[in-house]
């Protein structure tokens, strides 16, 4: 495990950095979607894995981010890059507004409300609210990303943009781990009453988790727009939320776990396209088998990130 941590990340980064040059355009597209999904799954992990809140509506925030970028670009002609702050901020604000009234709900009740919000969102965009969401068709033909006048059209450049966003997300996740708010989320996940009784305002931190998760998912939404030059309601429906939910649980809510989860839940089905109609039948069995073999996920969440000076000799187990 320690070995994996020491060498795993550098190897991962190096492989990911050279990956697009080894792939043909189909697999480049898969790899980009992998990166986008990884970011959304990590944002879901903040809410579901780290804070233990049963959220089955993460596609909502992903969608709000994507639609924010798409609408600003198509209606107001903003360059994609300029939409990024709002694509983060607006989902985050929604995260606060929507989570505020519901975070006191326990487990499955929270689950239903998040599903509900997701369904409401899809209906809102389908019904073309305000005439800007493009209805069931979505919004097409959006601009590509451009840096100071240079359009980044090629798949490779989109890949690196998505990769940069993933790196940013990983960096935020790392910062979160080693901070007071990050630990607070762990505490409330483990035992909410104990957390309250030790002085943690769990409500604020729950909302914080939702808002942070929403902001990151929103950023992923922008990357989605860059990749597909389009948004449409079905990309952000409840089934997608179920996918992100499953990714976190199958992977186990650690960062490598979530990345492997995205690979297993998204890339593997792509690899096994040849099975055609049998694909999801087999995939369902695989999900069951994965949970039975690794009930806590492929790589379970690890705690115990404590400063070295605290670790004394004769450690018990650890």
């Amino acid at each position: 495990m320690k070995e994996l941590q020491r060498f795993g990340y550098p190897i991962f980064f190096v492989v990911m950095a050279i990956l697009p040059h080894l792939l043909n355009s189909r697999w480049q597209a898969v790899a980009i979607t992998f990166l986008i999904f990884a970011v959304v799954a990590l944002s879901q992990d903040i809410v579901l894995g780290k804070s233990g809140m049963f959220n089955m509506g993460q596609a909502l925030f992903f969608g709000i981010g994507a639609y924010t970028t798409a609408i600003l670009n198509s209606q107001f002609g903003w360059p994609i890059l300029a939409t990024i702050p709002l694509a983060i901020l607006i989902p985050a604000v929604f995260g606060v507004l929507l989570a505020g009234p519901i975070v006191h709900l326990r487990g499955d009740y929270l689950l239903v409300t998040t599903i509900g919000f997701n369904i409401v969102f899809v209906q809102v965009v389908q019904n073309n609210l305000g005439g800007v969401t493009g209805g069931p068709n979505g919004i097409f033909g959006l601009d590509s990303l451009s840096f100071f006048g240079t359009d980044l059209i090629s798949q490779v450049s989109v890949y690196y943009f998505a990769f940069a966003v993933l790196m940013l997300t990983l960096w935020i996740m790392r910062n979160l781990e080693g901070s007071k708010p990050g630990r607070a989320l762990h505490y409330l996940r483990e035992d909410q009453l104990a957390a309250e009784s030790i002085g943690i305002n769990t409500r604020i931190y729950k909302i914080f988790a939702f808002a942070l998760g929403a902001g990151i998912a929103g950023l992923a939404g922008t990357v989605f727009v860059v990749q597909y030059s389009a948004v449409s309601p079905e990309a952000f429906n409840f089934i997608q939320s179920v996918l992100f939910f499953s990714i976190v649980i199958v992977g186990g809510s650690s960062v490598p776990g979530v990345l492997i989860g995205v690979f297993v839940m998204f890339v593997l089905p792509e690899i096994f396209r040849e099975f055609a109609t049998w694909r999801f039948f087999i995939f369902g069995f695989a999900m069951i088998a994965a949970m039975i073999l690794r009930p806590r996920g492929i790589i379970p969440a690890t705690f115990g990130k404590i400063p070295k000076f605290l670790i004394k000799e004769s450690n018990h187990g650890a």
Binding site: V112, G116, I119, F283
Partner: protein, 298 residues
């Protein structure tokens, strides 16, 4: 006024189907703390099984007796599937974190849904008109025979289930297991059998629901289970999950919401309004309308 009554009748019909399916969720949840996401697909599967029994076993005989036999055979078949499902997908995960079992259930849902597609094909299958198309016009309110059958039979089944759980020894064992499995085990209750029984009851009720869908709407598709599952699950939550009368109430309410919102407010926004209403209910009553029947120590 007659429109109101008509919507009431519509709502109660669909609501009783939701309630039947919701009972499957709530009973499993009550004992196992598991959201059995595969339940909706079991409902869809039962409609297909019922149709196959009609065409293959019954030789397309259309009589009251035939319908009853279809119901019974389907219920038995689905009960077996339910037990197998529990053995394969849930039993190994009893000690695992709760959400692992939920993902296993999602996997099972994919298996069943795609299994239906592989066996019966992706196209819509159509039920014969097994129930005569009779309807009565009661002063502007049209009620059909099948609606009456659905309503009455659902109510009978629900009351029977309620009495079974509340009044019988086995029912007491079910309730005991849902409060504390370990304590129930110590009291000599075979929790494994209770769980198997729960799956038998839940799946059979789901089978009845699935056949109702087939008989009433007649067109069945392999992926129709999702939405019934989702609505029934929501109904169970709204009523207070683990709570049997709660599931019935939740199902009925959801049916009525559906009818009145689509009928009076806006069909374009029916889902949005329905879910906003449900979220508001949960904000006001955080453990459902009737409260959940799950003990938790503070």
């Amino acid at each position: 006024m007659d429109i109101f009554l008509q919507q009431l009748a519509n709502g109660l019909t669909i609501g009783s189907m939701f309630a039947l399916v919701a009972l499957g969720y709530t009973m499993v949840y009550g004992v196992m703390r598991l959201i059995n996401f595969a339940h909706g697909d079991m409902v869809a599967a039962s409609a297909f099984v019922g149709l196959t029994i009609y065409t293959q076993v019954m030789g397309q005989a259309a009589s009251l007796l035939a319908v009853i036999v279809i119901f019974l055979l389907t219920a038995v078949a689905m009960a077996c599937v339910g037990i197998i499902l529990e053995r394969i997908a849930y039993r190994p995960l009893r000690e695992a974190p709760r959400l692992s079992a939920v993902v296993s259930a999602l996997g099972a849902s994919l298996v069943i849904q795609n299994g239906i597609m592989l066996i019966w094909g992706p196209q819509m299958r159509i039920f014969p008109e097994l129930v005569p198309q009779i309807s009565w016009d009661l002063g502007g309110v049209v009620i059909s025979l099948i609606q009456v059958i659905i309503l009455v039979l659902s109510l009978v089944l629900m009351v029977a289930l309620y009495l079974f759980v509340e009044k019988t020894r086995i029912g007491a064992a079910i309730r005991a297991s849902s409060i504390d499995q370990d304590a129930a085990r110590l009291m000599g209750i075979n929790v494994n059998s209770i769980i198997a029984l729960i799956f038998i009851i839940g799946s059979s009720l789901g089978a009845v629901g699935g056949l109702f869908i087939g008989l009433y709407y007649r067109g069945i598709t392999f992926n129709m289970g999702w939405q019934y599952g989702l609505y029934a699950f929501v109904a169970a939550i709204i009523g207070g999950i683990g709570n049997i009368p709660g599931a019935m109430l939740g199902g009925m309410l959801l049916g009525l919401f559906n009818a009145f919102i689509a009928g009076y407010v806006s069909s374009t926004w029916s889902d949005a309004f329905t879910f906003i209403l449900l979220i508001i209910i949960l904000i006001v009553r955080p453990t459902g309308i009737l409260g959940e029947r799950v003990a938790e120590k503070v």
